[in-house]
Subunit: 247 residues, 2 copies
């Protein structure tokens, strides 16, 4: 709490910057659940901004369920379980272990998504998935166009599950991963472009056409594991395909 805006860094509007700063204080444990934030006036002075800016920042944080404000009392940090939304800290993804974990979560979601899509897809879903696949095949190198087509491919599969929450969660996770990789490239332009592997996508598509949930799941799992490795992330050992204890 000794910071001024000059030390906050990053771009964007002042409210966004104040909110980001406070958010980091909360996530890092500097401000524990139950802690009362400084008053709006104090924050205003501390950061050298108007009270309106502080209020806008606080509005953001309360919409996220990170804090609650009580009129006449102050603003208090809430427990993470009370959050009204899920966010992923882009900075945290610079740590490759966190990237691993996010890929693991993605693998869980996408493997199930593919299996459900294989069961529930209609012709219109297959058409959309094929269109994304064709778009991917038309690219010679793994560039933004390919990345967009790849994301679209995954999103269309998730759409075919008929479960909008699955679609939302997968879209979100894929987008966060994409952003992280994108920013890594901006920082390090020599970062190698990753080659597209359309064969893996084709196998997923074929399993969907065949309506084979197990094949779809396996193909998708292999694809996500492969995609992770291609960006330098090694997923934790595959599970239960070796245990053979499952019924």
């Amino acid at each position: 709490m000794k910071q001024r805006l000059a030390a906050i860094g990053t771009v964007e509007t002042l409210p966004h910057r104040v909110a980001a700063f406070l958010s980091r204080e909360i996530e890092s444990g500097e401000l524990n659940p139950g802690t009362r934030l400084p008053t709006e006036q104090e924050l205003s002075e501390k950061f050298g901004v108007s009270r309106n800016v502080v209020r806008e920042a606080i509005a953001q944080l309360r919409a996220d369920g990170m804090i609650e404000a009580r009129q006449g009392v102050g603003a208090f940090v809430l427990a993470p379980e009370q959050r009204a939304s899920i966010r992923i800290d882009g900075e945290a993804l610079k740590d490759s272990e966190n990237m691993e974990r996010l890929f693991e979560l993605r693998c869980i979601l996408e493997a199930e998504s593919a299996a459900l899509a294989a069961e529930r897809r209609g012709q219109e879903h297959l058409d959309a998935i094929k269109a994304a696949l064709d778009r991917m095949s038309g690219e010679e190198r793994w560039e933004e166009g390919s990345i967009d087509a790849d994301l679209l491919f995954h999103r269309e599969i998730a759409r075919a599950t008929g479960n909008s929450y699955i679609h939302t969660f997968i879209s979100f996770v894929c987008e966060q991963i994409r952003r992280s990789i994108h920013y890594a490239r901006l920082t390090n332009p020599l970062h190698d472009l990753v080659e597209v592997n359309v064969g893996e996508h084709v196998r997923i598509y074929e399993a969907l056409v065949a309506g084979d949930p197990s094949a779809a799941e396996a193909a998708m799992r292999a694809h996500i594991i492969g995609a992770a490795e291609r960006v330098g992330v090694k997923l934790p050992a595959a599970r239960r395909k070796q245990s053979g204890k499952g019924k």
Copy 2:
């Protein structure tokens, strides 16, 4: 866009209400990606609030990545894929089909969580899970205390996966479900209290102790399906446990 705040309903601060209204317009497709919102001044007049209130509302929406504001131009709706966070509309969960879908997603996440926890848990995890279990067992009826203990049980299992994203996602989904059920009870006080089924929890715990991922997954899946049914939600047919095609 013909609404006034009187028609917005719900409680809370004016910015929150304006943001919620706009958010619903966006989610419902009334405001498509690329659409330009009315100016701040127009929204201020339309809703009969000050421009500050409108700005705070917009700050919330832009923090979510639902809109982007360009100085001198206006505020524009962004595509859902650009969202910086995941939210679940509590109103949408009043539709039982959406509740089904959310439970399905929960089942996907929690089954995997249990399996990973069975592989990765340490003694400290088991202790925490047991503590939550004991707390649940001490309750004679399914009340808030039991619900909290149940949520804690699930969160501790997710923590044992060692993947904070899994933990975050599961916590979030469980909390949204809990809130939805809680509000349903406020609206309809005659809604039956649901009995706690500690036996299912014990089975999960035992599989964790035994370090048996398959058993943990199966027990968790059965528990989630049972929990859903106990609140009147029937999950889509179980998948792949009958296909037997998996390797």
